[in-house]
């Protein structure tokens, strides 16, 4: 009750202040617009350099100066208090430097591509034979490593699909680790919906796109 009263008092003061400002506001007859800055050509690193632009988002701020954030007075506070149970994430990946410079062979395991059901990252029993074949080859080639590419159909939002594609690749990786392949030999990468095997927009095409592809990585000869 007391709090509500205070809030109301505050509102009155605020309303008064706003009204006052509104009446006294001076009117500027002319607004001067700065002329658009020059737009440069390609900048370093093969990227296009974009020069300063007229009255756009914000003027350039040096990195060492913290931008002033308007305080909206709004603070997010939690409503639900039940913490959500968290579980183990998965099997940690080895540093990416371990495969830098290795030579990829995208054709070698072409016939072993595995397929998934809609919005699922479960490696189905029907796909186990293909994974086993890849595992056997890796056991016979101790110098080789493996990249698993996860893909999705387009029936999902783009970043959700990128995470789903990763989960698919990771599910296949976990299967291979259980099959006896060392965890530091198997790497993952997700393309989400960005590299469809079939660009069609029907269930046939979608089924072909929900897949995990194996890429053999060999040391530089």
């Amino acid at each position: 009750m007391k709090r509500a009263l205070l809030l109301n008092l505050f509102a009155v003061v605020l309303a008064l202040a706003l009204g006052g400002v509104g009446c006294k506001k001076p009117q500027k007859p002319v607004t001067q617009i700065p002329i658009a800055g020059a737009k440069g050509g390609p900048g370093p690193g093969g990227t296009t350099r974009v020069g300063p632009t007229e009255g756009g988002a914000r003027s350039p701020t040096p990195d060492n100066v913290a931008p002033v954030q308007p305080d909206t007075g709004v603070r997010a506070t939690p409503v639900e208090t039940t913490p959500v149970k968290e579980g183990p994430s998965g099997i940690e990946q080895a540093p990416i430097e371990m495969i830098e410079g290795m030579v990829p062979d995208t054709e070698y395991f072409k016939a072993q591509t595995v397929y998934f059901e809609f919005d699922s990252s479960v490696v189905r029993k029907t796909q186990h034979g293909r994974c086993d074949a890849v595992g056997d080859e890796l056991k016979a080639k101790p110098e080789a490593k493996l990249m698993i590419d996860g893909h999705c159909d387009e029936r999902g939002t783009e970043e959700y699909n990128r995470a789903l594609g990763e989960r698919r690749a990771l599910a296949v990786r976990t299967y291979l680790i259980k099959y006896g392949i060392a965890a530091d030999r198997v790497f993952t990468r997700s393309w989400g919906e960005n590299r469809p095997a079939d660009p069609g927009q029907n269930e046939d095409a979608y089924a072909k796109n929900r897949r995990g592809e194996f890429i053999l990585l060999l040391p530089k000869p």
Binding site: T48, R49, E54, G56, D63, V84, P88, Q93
Partner: protein
């Protein structure tokens, strides 16, 4: 207690009176409350003495700011904007009901488009009391064939320039607040890495390059931290680091796939999409680490791509139920409100306008703007390919 109650009702009456007076003084203030989403009537305005590009820009800007452009004889006319017809853009804004003039300005410098944008921003400020967004910038990606590049443009899609020439997949560009800098994922190295890209110098730096995915960057409102999804732990989890990639901390550790982080405006929370008990949901976690909590989105299914409004009150997100729908929910969670068909919403700095992606025939995607209050929308013309994943500079 009775006394307190009496004082309270007098106070309330006082506030109402003062608000009415403020409104009379041309200082109407729009607060975005749940009841107003999609139900606010547009403000009727006439444009007189404009033609060609200037008229088109004014109409686009004002309609996406919640105005309805009508003829000068319209019975619902509230405001009239009158031009001078000279070589520079001029504007006299008149209150058609009170027959008073709010401002008279002439604009110089820049081009006709910029002058028209400046005029519409002045109209929006004078009528609503809030700054307009007609001179802001957007970033997005354009896909041609299997490759995509990051682009930068005016908020209406004009003056688009390529930011990348990577000739591979790029994803999820995101502004660093208060800086002319973008964060995004590029597959240029062969792996999806997160980079920062200074638009002034063109310098690009690697922020996250770990095994697996480095995706969906979101820079904190103070511009100093980046939330992102990494899978180096063996599952797509939420991480936070300094903007240069140092000081990496893992915030979630779940067997599910987290995606699309977004910050609360005070920087205290990160909201994201995940799955709890097998059901897709939005959740949030303290940015400094702690327990994850569900954000309820009652009435809709499969929420993804949350974007927290800069005023902190509302989270816009995509719901997937057959097609894709842009939805709003209060930041604490609750009943979700369906707005329009579309996906991947991103707020403008005014916490009122959204930019989002539409899917057309043949998988083609394009960008649109939406005024959350009046539900008026405008398509952004981009002819260079299929456009998606917009991010509004703020």
């Amino acid at each position: 207690m009775n006394m307190a109650r009496a004082i309270l009702s007098w106070m309330a009456a006082g506030v109402v009176l003062l608000q009415w007076l403020a409104a009379r003084a041309g200082e109407e203030r729009i607060t975005i409350e749940r009841e107003a989403w999609g139900r606010t009537p547009p403000i009727h305005i006439s444009l007189e003495g404009y033609s060609g590009e200037v008229e088109r820009v004014l109409q686009f800007d004002l309609e996406i700011a919640g105005f309805k452009v009508v003829g000068s004889g319209d019975e619902k006319l509230q405001y009239a904007l009158k031009g001078g017809g000279g070589s520079v853009v001029e504007g006299r804004l008149q209150d058609a009901i009170k027959k008073s003039e709010l401002f008279a300005k002439a604009y110089s410098g820049g081009g006709a488009r910029t002058q028209a944008h400046a005029l519409s921003d002045d109209v929006v400020l004078a009528v609503t009391g809030k700054p307009g967004v007609a001179r802001t910038k957007i970033a997005f990606k354009i896909t041609r064939g299997q490759d995509s590049e990051v682009y930068l443009a005016d908020y209406d899609g004009f003056n688009a320039v390529a930011v990348t020439q990577d000739r591979t997949v790029v994803a999820a560009p995101c502004w660093r607040p208060g800086h002319r800098m973008l964060f995004y994922t590029t597959y240029k190295s062969g792996n999806p890495d997160i980079v920062s890209h200074d638009l002034g110098s063109g310098v690009r730096r690697t922020v996250a390059r770990y095994s697996g995915s480095n995706i969906s960057p979101a820079v904190s409102p103070d511009g100093q931290h980046v939330a992102m999804i990494l899978s180096k732990s063996g599952s797509p989890d939420l991480f936070v680091a300094n903007v240069d990639g140092t000081g990496l901390r893992q915030l979630t550790q779940t067997p599910e796939d987290e995606s699309s982080p977004t910050w609360s405006p005070d920087g205290g929370w990160v909201c994201f999409a995940t799955r709890i008990d097998g059901r897709r949901t939005l959740a949030r976690i303290p940015a400094g680490g702690g327990s994850m909590r569900r954000i309820a989105t009652s009435g809709v299914l499969n929420p993804t791509e949350p974007d927290w409004s800069p005023d902190g009150k509302t989270i816009a997100f995509t719901s997937q139920m057959g097609g894709f729908q842009i939805c709003l929910v209060e930041a604490g969670g609750g009943e979700a409100k369906l707005l329009v068909s579309g996906e991947d919403p991103c707020w403008a700095g005014n916490s009122r306008t959204l930019i989002y992606t539409k899917r057309g025939s043949g998988g083609r995607r394009s960008l649109s703007l939406l005024d959350v209050l009046t539900k008026q929308s405008k398509d952004i013309p981009i002819n260079a390919g299929t456009a998606s994943q917009p991010s509004w500079a703020r």
